[in-house]
Symmetry: D2
Subunit: 148 residues, 4 copies
């Protein structure tokens, strides 16, 4: 009864190029989130460690984590519907669970619903090489009208 | 029956100096959020417009809005409990309502609850000079044990 | 620069009758939420105290609070756009701040955005006669297409 | 590197009896949520279909879904820390994705973090026999101090 999730419509390389082209600011003043992989209703991004993300106590800032979650969910949507630059975030909710050490963060986004006008997903964020969650986020994107 | 909200325990100037001292990264690569005022259970911050916050369509990025909300709520807490650098965000939820033009953003944070171990607040974000909300956020901070 | 919020398009009495007609289950097994008033982008509802809402410790259950928030926001929307029975909740987020005593609860809903296809609002819930918040909620409703 | 999640400390039968004892109101005016199973950092509950949960269009009400999510997460916590009746919900966030048909709902709760003073989890809600999500929820519970 489980429907096969369809294959992504953009490859990792095509989507990575699209993101770099459309969002050059992601890499302003230092390396920004990098697309690791795409999959059916999914995408994974990595935020390379950089000292501009540090906060007191040697942890990575909440806003850096939130930016990673936002773009990872956006990447999961684009990978699965194609390059609609104008998808709009309408809601993001974050539960912060552990303060991450100063190392790369991995954000795995999964779409829970990919409807015609709305996409809903969750993002799991961990420090690279660790299983404990740093943050769990959910988000909603409004999708522009499209032909299919 | 409404209890008088007590006066803030830190002045705007003292809190602004504290934030600049503890979070130098806020101003990495360009001017970051600036404390405008503090009040009883409240604080207001301004995010000066900077091109690193731009996104396609000439709007300001979601992460820049989220960073402003996070620090404005933190400022409202510090202003009212004193300089506890180790308050920890546990939850942030955002509803994005309008795409902001490329101009300064104003974030007004109000504490809805300031308990012994938990603070809950909301943040209203608008473009300077406009009444329409760009974003409404709510957040929860866990407070470290303190004597009082 | 602040636009005048338009007057509600449904009176309190008309909306109360509509709610009772469309949602008879609200009063299943005991009195349910009652519409107190409507206003520009706003509505207030009261949940009469009933022992079916009790939880251990003599407090009122979270689900009773959540149901009040949901219907109060729905009432604020209907009061201001007319009787569109098919508005659909897409997101609700709750911060619970104090355990309410066993007495009536008052839910005040305010619309933060009333767009063509989406309404966003917040709901403040208090025990009757008290100023402290029991719960703060935000919610999003998808609106069916309408002529205007 | 993944720590073994420890076994639950309460059996399904012991927890079901505890819930019925402490929350008799769950079954007020009709059958309420039933504990299906417990597991490491997890619990599953079923909400039997009952006409008091119906809404216009023959769908199940949001508040019934929210009540199921709340109690399923609570069950996952109790199953894994023991019968602490006084755990307190501090935050619940819901994304509603599909209108459920009039049939039983299944809520699967998983703990994302089980700390000393805070538990965070997610709840997936589906109509029985279907894979599509009706609702995704996240929640936070404050735990009373305990010895261990």
């Amino acid at each position: 009864m489980k429907p096969m999730p369809s294959e992504p419509v953009m490859s990792r390389d095509a989507l990575a190029a699209f993101l770099d082209d459309v969002f050059p600011q992601l890499h302003h003043a230092g390396p920004g989130p990098v697309l690791v992989s795409v999959g059916p209703l999914a995408a994974t991004m990595r935020l390379p460690y950089h000292e501009r993300h540090l906060r007191p106590g040697g942890t990575i800032s909440g806003p850096a984590i939130m930016a990673l979650a936002d773009v990872a969910l956006y990447a999961a949507i684009l990978a699965n519907v194609g390059p609609v630059a104008l998808a709009v975030t309408t809601n993001l909710s974050f539960n912060f669970m552990r303060k991450p050490e100063p190392r790369d963060l991995i954000g795995e986004a999964r779409l829970l619903k990919l409807g015609r006008s709305l996409a809903v997903g969750e993002i799991l964020i961990r420090s690279e090489g660790y299983d404990d969650l740093v943050c769990h986020a959910t988000g909603t994107y409004a999708l522009p009208p499209r032909r299919d």
